[in-house]
Amino acid sequence: MSSVFKVHTMAEMMANGETPDILFWVGCSGSFDDRAKKITKAVAKILHHCNVKFAVLGAEESCTGDPAKRAGNEFTFQMQAMMNIQVLDAYEIKKIVTACPHCFNTLKNEYPELGGKYEVIHHTQLIQDLINQGKLALEGSQIYKGKKITFHDPCYLGRANDIYEAPRVLIEKLDAELIEMKRCKTNGLCCGAGGAQMFKEAEKGNKEINVERTEDAIETNASIIATGCPFCNTMMTDGVKNFNKEQDIQVLDVAELIANAADL
């Protein structure tokens, strides 16, 4: 384990007269959900390790409005968006990285029309860049060598934004065996959380969507289900529990895999 470091907020940076290269948008799940906080920390460790000058908004961050918009409440969404844009513009933010595909999609695609124009990237894309630039070396890492890993495509990263490769490239860098589920990439099956479903009971049916998806993952015989979304992570973790397979199958974010492999 490497040294303890301090994550700065934009307010602190500003007070010191500094400007970060990139804003790390943590998102509600990454801020409040105990499981997702671990993903947040993994991303922060990677950024710190690679000497990326980054900051977070801390208490000044607010929900992007994604669940409100998908639930049909355009008012709440646009109120959130306008408030966030005011904060981001006040700090003159140019570039944002986020570990949540929902925040990613909203910031990248839906904020520009409302006046918020930033370069937005998903954490898997940033990590891929860092590796390509030689700032993060995984050579010699053994912990995932030969391990069977399957990747669950988050809908809002994959179909919604056509990003399929970055997370897969990272998994391959681990020297692991990437096994695709029968439904993957454009055909990937949703985990069941999107469209504000995360916050409500499912409608009447004969099965939970996350259980259906977990079956796909179990069929691959992978020992790790990798994801790139905190909500998918929750759904797949619950799915694995449903089959009492917690002992055999881990659900980890790609950032966690990378941080572990780089021994951060």
């Binding site: 908004l57 109120m79 999609n105 934004n161 949703c190 999107g194």
Partner: protein
Amino acid sequence: MSIIIFSILFVVGFYFFTKNILQVRSNILLGQKKKITDNTSERWKTMLLVALGQKKMFSRPIPALLHLCLYAAFIITQIELVEIFTDGFIGSHRFFLPYLGSFYVFMISFIEVLSVLALIATIIFLARRNLLKLHRLNMKELIGWPKKDANLILIMEIFLVTFIFTMNGADEAIQNLKGASYNFAISSHIANFIFGDFNEHTLHVLEQIGWWGHLLMVFTFLNYLPFSKHFHILLAFPNTYYSNLEKKGKFSNLASVTEEVKKMMDPSIDPFAATNAENEAPLRFGAKDVTDLTWKNLLDSYTCTECGRCTSSCPANQTGKLLSPRKIMMDTRDRLVEVGEGKRKNGKDYTDGKSLLGDYITEEEIWACTSCNACVQECPVNIDPLSIIIDLRRYLVMEESKMPSELTGMLTNIENNGAPWQFSPADRGNWINE
């Protein structure tokens, strides 16, 4: 005489076809305005790949190949149709033959080979629906007319091909009686086999039955299209041209809401100042009925082939929920036809008290959607059922405040705490020091 009958048939056929098309057009224009004029070159490219090139069909190779046979046969048969029309108008027989010579023989042979493939494909399509009972083609939204419609199209297709071979086969047999042959690839072989025992007069009659039958089927199809899922053979082209070219994750930002929110956020704007006519708030937020949807949503609904690829990839449908994106499209079209008919009969301000949401689509259906975009991804003609679902949700939430109670809580949390859960905004940075 036959020229006169042909001409009447031609005029009547096209008159009703034009009338039907104009009706469909006026129905589609009942939708909300939406400007789609950008990126023309990208749009042509999408149309060429997705409609003409059948690109998205091939995610499922078996139906794609079967369909390709029908599709190719249809397109290439249009050449023969030009000749049929020419012969009809001037009373000639195989007008192009003397001009094209051996190329003509090649062309007709090519059409014949494709027609046989189309016949085989049609029979397999019928079997998939009625014998193999493929789940996708036998779900509950297809009970009744949609199922009959599907079978009717396939049966008409069989008739069409049969007429083509009756015409060419009998014609070949007449040639054979004279010790000659056109050397058409298929009919020169079936001529003796099927028509060998007939005399010249009977053969002429048969040839005429084939010719007129073919023609009759063409006009029948033409006028049947606007009432059928078979309309896709025309609408697939404009519909893919007007495809959404943005990232699928991007939902529209309601401009009317932006106005309101800006007023709320900026105290210097006079909330009662007249907005200029262009930005006038619409009748309602979101969609309750088809007329609240955009014209593109409505064009989508007419284009739907009812193939169910969307529904079979929908996570909600696969886990037994009521939602079926195909049903969303069929309901939209059926309701649009009803609204359009009502307005044509009773004037343009007529309303029948019914609506898409409630009378056709239930709340339970739209709340089951995860907005995963699988249906949008799958649709071979680039239909977007998700945008209709979201517009219906917008109406329910913003106009009627009707939603599952957990969502009310989630929205209150966002408004009060800036997060969908009940956490204090002040604790957002706690993870830093944990």
